[in-house]
C-alpha cells in the first residue's frame, strides 16, 4: 500500500504551521520573565493592595484596574454614607416600613447573611446597624438601659420577611447594613477576576482580609502575619497560605474608650452592648466571605467564640482578653 503523490499536501500546511510557530514563539519570549507588581489603593475605609506576578506591566495593570473597579463598584453600591446606594434605597423603605424588590446580587448577599444568622444563633444580624445611633465614636458614658431597649425593639432579622426578590419591613425604624459581608465578598471577586484572566500567582488584600490567587511562582506559600491585638507592631501568628483566604476581626480596630475601658465597635443584637470576649481572631477558609463572617460570629459569640470555631472546623487562631492564644494555628 504505497500512495504516489506528487503534489505535497504539506506545502500549505507547512507555511501555516511555521507561521503559528513564530507567533507562539514570540508569546513565549514575552512570558518568560515574571515579576511582582503591587497596586495599593484605599477602599471600604481601609488600606488595600493587589499583588500580582506577571510577565509585563501592562497585563498586571489591566487586571489590577479591573479588580479595583469592581471593589469600588461594590463600595459605592452598598455604602451607608451615599444616598444613591442600594443600602440607602433599602433603608429609605425600612425607615418608613414597607417592601422592596432587590437585584440578584443583593438577593444572594441577603441569602448569605440569612445563612450566617442561622449559624450564629441570631447574633450575625444585618439589622443591628440601628445600635450605632447611640454608640457613636465620641460617646463618653454608657447608654442607659431603656434607650438600649427602645433601639433593640427596632433590631432583629427575624422581624424582616425575606422572600427572594422581595424584602418586607413589618414596621418603621429598621435599618440594614451589608458592612459585615461586602468587603470579604469584594476580595473573593477580585481574586476570581485575576485568576480567570490567567494569573496563577498573587493575592488581594482589602484591609487585612486576604484572598490568595496563587502561591509564589516557585510554589512557595505567602507568609501572612496576624497583628497582635494589643501590641501594634507585634504579630500574634504567621500563617503559610498556598490558597484560599484569611480574615481577621478584633476589638482593637475601631473602639470607644469609656472611663478607661475599651469597647469594641462590634455590637451584640441581643444586648445592644459592644461585645466583650475574644480580643482578636483570624480564620482561614477557601472563600474570604466565609472566613470573614466566621471571625465576626466568633467575636459576637463572646466567651463561646473559641468553642464555636472548633464546631465550624476551619483552621483559626484567637487571643482572649487575658492575652492567651488558642486555635488550630496556635
Amino acid at each position: 500500500m504505497s500512495v504516489k503523490l506528487d503534489v505535497i499536501p504539506a506545502e500549505a500546511g507547512i507555511q501555516y504551521l511555521a507561521a503559528t510557530a513564530s507567533a507562539v514563539h514570540n508569546a513565549a519570549e514575552e512570558l518568560t520573565m515574571v515579576t511582582l507588581y503591587r497596586y495599593p489603593f484605599a477602599a471600604m475605609g481601609s488600606r488595600c493592595e493587589i499583588r500580582l506576578y506577571a510577565s509585563s506591566e501592562e497585563t498586571a495593570a489591566a487586571c489590577a484596574r479591573a479588580a479595583i473597579d469592581d471593589v469600588l463598584r461594590l463600595e459605592t453600591k452598598y455604602s451607608r454614607y451615599r444616598d444613591d446606594s442600594v443600602t440607602a434605597a433599602i433603608n429609605r423603605v425600612a425607615q418608613a416600613g414597607g417592601a422592596i424588590d432587590v437585584d440578584a446580587e443583593t438577593a444572594t448577599l441577603l441569602d448569605y447573611a440569612a445563612a450566617c444568622y442561622e449559624q450564629s444563633d441570631g447574633l450575625f444580624d444585618l439589622t443591628s446597624g440601628v445600635l450605632r445611633e447611640v454608640w457613636s465614636a465620641d460617646r463618653r458614658e454608657l447608654p442607659d438601659t431603656d434607650t438600649l431597649q427602645r433601639l433593640l425593639a427596632r433590631v432583629g432579622w427575624s422581624k424582616v420577611r425575606w422572600q427572594r426578590p422581595r424584602l418586607v419591613f413589618g414596621f418603621p425604624g429598621m435599618e440594614i447594613d451589608f458592612g459585615g459581608v461586602v468587603k470579604e465578598y469584594a476580595a473573593d471577586r477580585a481574586a476570581t477576576l485575576c485568576a480567570e484572566a490567567g494569573f496563577r500567582h498573587g493575592l488581594i488584600d482589602l484591609g487585612g482580609d486576604i484572598k490568595i490567587i496563587g502561591p509564589h511562582p516557585d510554589g512557595t506559600p505567602w507568609a501572612v502575619g496576624i497583628q497582635h491585638p494589643r501590641i501594634k507592631e507585634a504579630v500574634m501568628a504567621t500563617l503559610d497560605l498556598f490558597e484560599g483566604a484569611i480574615a481577621t476581626s478584633g476589638d482593637y480596630e475601631r473602639f470607644v474608650e469609656i472611663d478607661g475601658r475599651r469597647y469594641s465597635h462590634i455590637l451584640s443584637p441581643r444586648t445592644g452592648m459592644p461585645v466583650c470576649g475574644l480580643a482578636g481572631v483570624s480564620v482561614a477558609a477557601p472563600e474570604c466571605v466565609v472566613a470573614g463572617s466566621a471571625t465576626t460570629i466568633a467575636m459576637l459569640m463572646e466567651d463561646r467564640g473559641a468553642q464555636w470555631l472548633d464546631e465550624v472546623g476551619l483552621p483559626h487562631v484567637w487571643m482572649d482578653q487575658q492575652l492567651r492564644v488558642g486555635g488550630t494555628y496556635a
Binding site: A10, V24, T32, Y185, T192
Partner: protein, 378 residues
Amino acid sequence: MGAISPRLAALTAAAMALPGVHARAADAPGEHPWGVDATHLEYSESGNRMRVRVNQASAVVPIGESFQLKANGIQDLMSGASPVFNAPGPGGKTQQVLTGASVFDNRKAGDIGASAAIGDNQLTLRQGWSKENDYKSTWTSLEGKRDFNRKSTTLAVGFAFSNDGVSSHDAPDDFRTRIKRDFFGGVTQIIDERSLVELSLEYSYSNGFLSDPYKLVFVQSAGLLRDARPGRRRQTAVTVKYLTYVPAIDSSLQAVGSLSTDNWGIGSGALELQWKKELPGEWLVNAGARYYTQSSADFYAPLYLTPPGDAHSSDYRLAGFGSIGWIAGVTKQLTPNFSVQIAAERSYRRAGLRSGGTGIDADNYIWGLYLVTLQARF
C-alpha cells in the same frame, strides 16, 4: 479543608451562590489535549561543510476520547560542501576532496496519521512523503502498543516500509528506485519504584539502488569511478534504555546502549548517558554525553590502489570511525498551556575511535546542532 461540619457546609453552600466568589479552575490540558509543536533547528559541520536549517511543525487533534489525528510538516534548507572522494595528498597522507560549488537543496516532507486507543491497546497508522529535487520517498508505518500488569509493562510492535527514488543533478529525472522494510519490537518494564528499562529490537532490509550518486572513488591507475554499493542490505539492531531516579541528587540518570550489525560488515555500538533535573519554577535541565563507534564496510576503502571489485565506496559514513559528543537541553513550562524547549548536541568524529576496519583522519570533523521547540497544549 478539614472535615466539612454542618455549620461550614451551610456557610460554604450559601457562599457558592455569590457570583464571582469561585474562579473556574484553570483549564490545564486534560487527558487528551490537542496540541501544536513548532521547532526551528540549525545544523552545521566544521570546515564550513554542510549547513541545514530545519523548520518543523506538527499538530495533534483529538477526536472524542479515543481517537487522534496527527499531522507533521518539515522543511529543510541544505547548503554547503560535502565530501566526494579521497585522493592521495602530499607526504602520502590521504586527503578529502569536497564538492566545489555550494550545494543548495530544499527538502519538504510531511506525514499524516491517525491513532486509536481501545482499552489498553493503541494502534497508530502514518502515511508520509518526502520530496527534494533529487530524492522522492513515500512511506507507511503501522505501530501497535499494549499495556500489561496494570500498566507496569508496555509492549510495542510495528513495521514500516518506504519506496524511494534517487536521481542526481546531472540526470535529475532519472530516478532509480529502492525499497526498505523495517520491523520493530519493544518492551518497557517498570523495575521498581524508581526505575524502568526498555528493550527494543529492529530488523530492516533494503533492496534496489543503495549507492550515493554524488560519491566517487579514486582508483590509482583508473581515475574516478562512481560509488557502487551492493543492492541488498540487512540490518539488525538492539537497544536497551535504562532510566532511574536518584533521590540523593533529586535527578534521573539515563543510559541508552545500542548494538547493530549488517550484511555490509558494519558493526556499530553507541552509549549515551544523561542526567536530568527538575528545578523550581517549572524548569527542566538535562546534560549528557554520547559515544559512538563503528567498523568499516567490507567493500569500503578510502581510495583504491588496484581496481576494486563490483562493490566499492569511499563514503566517509561507511568508514571505520568513532565519535564522542555532549548533549544539553533546558525546558521551561511557561503557562499551563505553553512550554519552550532548547536542546543542543555537538559530536567530535575521530577515526582513531573506530571499532574495526579502516578509517582515515582526513574524515575527522565536528558536527553540531541546536533547536528551539515551542509546545502548546489546550
